[in-house]
Structures are given as structure tokens and as C-alpha cells.
């Protein structure tokens, strides 16, 4: 059934007579059959109703239209169509009250009058993808539909128009829109603005775009106030996938290079049944079986499986490089944190051998991530930290803005989402400074650098704990489970 078919806001209620084909017929100059298929693939889990918002002025398309498409002899329409997706049929009366339709609202897609790709800015709520046992970076958006404000949580998607923007700008857009949606520190940047960021690092013209190098993408991020780090599989060898996992686990989506293409990686899925097969020391990245990705040529929220065969045509080894867009003050990199923390665990004075019989008698699972001191403190009470002394000291302790954390667990505790201790390191330190450790927490003992916390010289104090080796919940704040 189509309500007000010739109006500005027709509503397509899916039934035996009407469905996706009817939606396409309402948008003849915008939505093509390829775009329709991509929407169907993205939303196969149950769209029951689509509100078609005609004459929508999209900030991202208007940016490329004004700066590029309008200069063509054959000029596309300057306006877009925005499709709103619902899991239940809605009426115009329902749309007047946010509470009535919020639960059914699963997102929107801007349909551009561009070819070969008409799918513009798209934001699908995570609730459309629940049950995948994956963890992803998310941000929120408020959507104004006929004056009613609705809210979505997810990861942004856009496809290239093949003219002003190609995959490089699309992947860059997805990453930077996530950051600007989530943190007020980063300003919203539009597609054509992104193409201009490489103008001082290019040979020849920059639009129509012929693509960018990984280095140019890194430079673009730098100009947007990030401190990007570039990783190459060949040079980082066996550490590459683990480092990629560590950044994702830190809530930092990355731009990943695959042969002749680039994608946004923003989440992972793990198989915790692998926990029982661990050796004496294993990183949690070993259990990772899939990346959650946005490939601008496909549908949002694709799964890239370790050995291929998922939604994506790629597998882990196809990712040959990635760029981690770090915040300015994260001076310590993941690979260096890993080196110092492993040495700390093996050290004859601070290591497990000397200080923790509990951790010594089992395999050790290490989970590493970056977070802010503020976020870490927010979760202390809920987590309990295994001992009230630890919780109370951490609450009082002045922490840097960014901290690296290495959680220590046994396979059985990790499979249940629990940890037995952690090492906290100041992420704003130079790696060559050996005084970067803030705390080492084993079940039996807590070591804390109180001197540095008070902006003085390092002064390590130890606190005996009465912990009887029961785990407490792992830190979960960087990613959202779907």
C-alpha cells in the first residue's frame, strides 16, 4: 500500500502489492536497481515500511554538487530523496509523536541522483544487526522527520559517486563522520572538502579523483587534527592483525587498504570457544574471527571473515595496510605499549613469576586497549575491580587523559567476560621513558606510581590485596555489542 503516492512524503507499507520495487518507482531519477539491491541487502532483516522524503537537501551531496556536479553540462538534480526505514507500518499521525515510532525506526539512506552509485549518506541503527556477536564502534545521530526528532546509534556509511569522490574519500568520510558525530573536538567535514585535503600532496589534478595513496589519506587525517599512524602488513609481519585488533578494541575505527581499494574497519567478532586452546600466553586478538567493515561499493555492516567466505570478498590477509587515526595526545603507540607491558610481566621484580602465583598457574590471556582516564573511572564501581582497595585507589588517583590498559585473565575467566588484573600505562608518555607505568594490579598485590600521579618523580607503592582470585568484569565502553 502506498499512502499519498504523489505527495512529498509518500509512505510505502510493505504488503503483497508493494515493496522495494514500489519504493524505487517513487524515486525514478534517484534510486536505480543497483541501489535498490544494496538497500535490500542491508535491511533484509525486516523493513515493513518506508517513508519517502522527497526534495531533501543533503549537506554532503550539496557540497559535491556545488563544487563539482553543477559544473557539468549534464547536471544532476541538486536535491536528494531521503528514505526512512521502519520495522512496523507507520502513519502520518504516528510520525507526530517520537515515542510512537522510535522503536520501529532503524535508519535512513540519502538517495542521490548520481550514477553509478546513488547511495549517499546512510545511517542504519545497530538494532538492525543484533545477534551477530560482534563489537563495533558507534556514534549517535538525531534525525528530524517532519519535525519529529528521532535518534539512531550506529556507524555512518556513504558510497562514492565515482566522480568527485572515490573509495578513498568515502572511507575517509565514514571514519571522520564517526568522530565528528561522537566527539565535539572534531568538526564535521563534507566530501568535497575531503578531496581538497590532499591538494598539497598530489601530482596533477585532484578532481575527478583517481584515488589516493595511503600516505595521502594519512596526510588528510593529519589536517583534520588527527595523529594518524600507518601500518603495513609486510613490515609489521605477524604483529599486523593484532595491532589492528588493538586499535579497534580501543574504539578507533581504521582505514584499511586492500588490493586497489580501501575500506573502513570499525568492529570485530570473536570465537571465545578458542579460549580453551590457549598456550601459556595469548592475546585476545587470537580469538578474533571477523572484522566488521563498511565497503563503499557494497552494503553497510559487512562481515570480513578471517579466511574469507563472509559478506565481503576479502579475507584478513587481503588487508595490506591500515591507518589508525589517533587523537593528538596519544603519544605511545600500540606496538610499543605491547613491548613494554610484556617486559613488565616477565620482569624479575614486577613480573608474574615474582608477584602472582595465581596468574602463574594458568594460561594468561592479554587484552589491550586505549581509553580515557575519565571513561575508565566511570566503570570502576560497576566492575568492582576485584578488591575495594583497588577501586578506591583508582578513583582517587589522578590519571592522564589517555591510558593504555592491558587486562590480565585466564582462559576460563576471559570466556566469561572477566579479568583478574591489569597494567595501566600513561599513553601520553614517550616510549623511551621507563616510568610510564601507572599501576600493576595482580590478584595478590597492587603496585601504583603515586609520585607521577602527583606530577613528581616516580614513586612506586605496593598494597596487599585480600583478593581470592575471582574475576571481575572486563572494561566495556569503547565498543557496543551487536
Amino acid at each position: 500500500m502506498i499512502v499519498e503516492e504523489s505527495g512529498i512524503f509518500p509512505i510505502v507499507v510493505f504488503d503483497n502489492d508493494d515493496g522495494w520495487d514500489s519504493v524505487r518507482k517513487l524515486c525514478p531519477m534517484h534510486l536505480d536497481s543497483r541501489g535498490q539491491k544494496r538497500l535490500e541487502d542491508s535491511l533484509k532483516n525486516g523493513v515493513k515500511c518506508v517513508v519517502v522524503e522527497k526534495h531533501y537537501i543533503d549537506k554532503d551531496y550539496r557540497d559535491t554538487f556545488s563544487n563539482f556536479h553543477s559544473k557539468r553540462f549534464s547536471t544532476p538534480n541538486s536535491r536528494c530523496i531521503r528514505l526512512h526505514f521502519f520495522t512496523h507500518d507507520v502513519s502520518y499521525e504516528d510520525l507526530k509523536i517520537a515515542e510512537t515510532v522510535q522503536d520501529y525506526y532503524i535508519g535512513y539512506s540519502i538517495i542521490r541522483p548520481t550514477r553509478p552509485n546513488c547511495i549517499g549518506r546512510t545511517f542504519i541503527d545497530v538494532k538492525n544487526y543484533t545477534g551477530q556477536n560482534a563489537y563495533i564502534c558507534t556514534c549517535s545521530e538525531k534525525v528530524n522527520l517532519q519535525g519529529t526528532e528521532l535518534e539512531l546509534t550506529g556507524f555512518p556509511f556513504i558510497s562514492q559517486d565515482g566522480d568527485a569522490t572515490v573509495c578513498a574519500q568515502s572511507a575517509l568520510w565514514m571514519i571522520v563522520r564517526y568522530f565528528s558525530n561522537r566527539y565535539s573536538l572534531y568538526k564535521e567535514t563534507y566530501p568535497f572538502q575531503l578531496t581538497q585535503l590532499s591538494k598539497d600532496y598530489s601530482i596533477g589534478r585532484i578532481s575527478p579523483s583517481n584515488g589516493l595513496t595511503i600516505w595521502q589519506l594519512g596526510e588528510s587525517l593529519r589536517q583534520l587534527s588527527f595523529s594518524p599512524l600507518i601500518y603495513n602488513r609486510e613490515t609489521f609481519e605477524g604483529d599486523f592483525d593484532r595491532l589492528l585488533y588493538t586499535y579497534i578494541e580501543s574504539g578507533i575505527p581504521v582505514i584499511a587498504g586492500v588490493p586497489n581499494h580501501v575500506i573502513a574497519v570499525f568492529g570485530h567478532a570473536s570465537d571465545l570457544s578458542l579460549c580453551v586452546q590457549t598456550s601459556s600466553l595469548v592475546f585476545s586478538s587470537e580469538f578474533c574471527t571477523a572484522w566488521m567493515i563498511n565497503n563503499d561499493n557494497c552494503s553497510p555492516y559487512q562481515t570480513l571473515l578471517k579466511d574469507g567466505g563472509g559478506d565481503s570478498d576479502f579475507e584478513f590477509k587481503d588487508i595490506d595496510s591500515f591507518i589508525a587515526p589517533l587523537a593528538e595526545k596519544v603519544f605511545l603507540t600500540a606496538e610499543n605499549f605491547e613491548k613494554v607491558v610484556l617486559e613488565m610481566l616477565n620482569n624479575s621484580q614486577t613480573g608474574i613469576n615474582k608477584l602472582s602465583p595465581t596468574l602463574l598457574h594458568d594460561s594468561l590471556v592479554l587484552r589491550m586497549y586505549l581509553t580515557t582516564g575519565k571513561s575508565y573511572k566511570k566503570k570502576l564501581s560497576k566492575r568492582g575491580m576485584g578488591d575495594s582497595v583497588v577501586e578506591n585507589i583508582y578513583r582517587q588517583l589522578p590519571l592522564p587523559h589517555f591510558i593504555w590498559v592491558c587486562e590480565l585473565s585466564s582462559p576460563a575467566e576471559y570466556a566469561n567476560g572477566n579479568v583478574l588484573g591489569e597494567i595501566i600505562w600513561d599513553a601520553t608518555r614517550n616510549v623511551w621513558e621507563t616510568e610510564g607505568w601507572i599501576a600493576i594490579h595482580y590478584p595478590e598485590q597492587l603496585l601504583v606510581d603515586i609520585g607521577s600521579a602527583l606530577n613528581g618523580v616516580q614513586k612506586i607503592h605496593s598494597f596487599d590485596l585480600t583478593n581470592d582470585a575471582y574475576g571481575y568484569s572486563m572494561y566495556c565502553s569503547n565498543l557496543k555489542e551487536i
Binding site: 589516493l212 595511503i214 613490515t235 587498504g257 603507540t333 623511551w432
Partner: protein, 59 residues
Amino acid sequence: MEPTVETFCKEYGGKDFFASHDEYEKFRIRFGEAIRPGLERNREARRKSEEAARQHCIA
């Protein structure tokens, strides 16, 4: 009155982890020596990654 290490530790019953300043300095130097080779390798890998990034063209 400014908070000090001593007042902080008194509240929670902490004690010095290292027996003396000399012991702490020895630990710090040995730790620095132990991490150096790994950090040097990382620095080289980073340099090569950045070099490779100039060549890696994507569509």
C-alpha cells in the same frame, strides 16, 4: 595542605615497593635496556610502513 605520596599511602596502607632508591634505579636501567631492542625494531617497522605508504595507490 597539598596531598603527598605519604598521605595517600597512609590512607590505604601502602608501602614502598623498592627497598631503596638504588634498587629502583637499577630496576629502571635494566628495564630500559630490556625494552630497547624491541622498540628499535618497532621504530624500523614504522619507518618502512611510512615509506611503503607513499607507493600504495588505491582507487
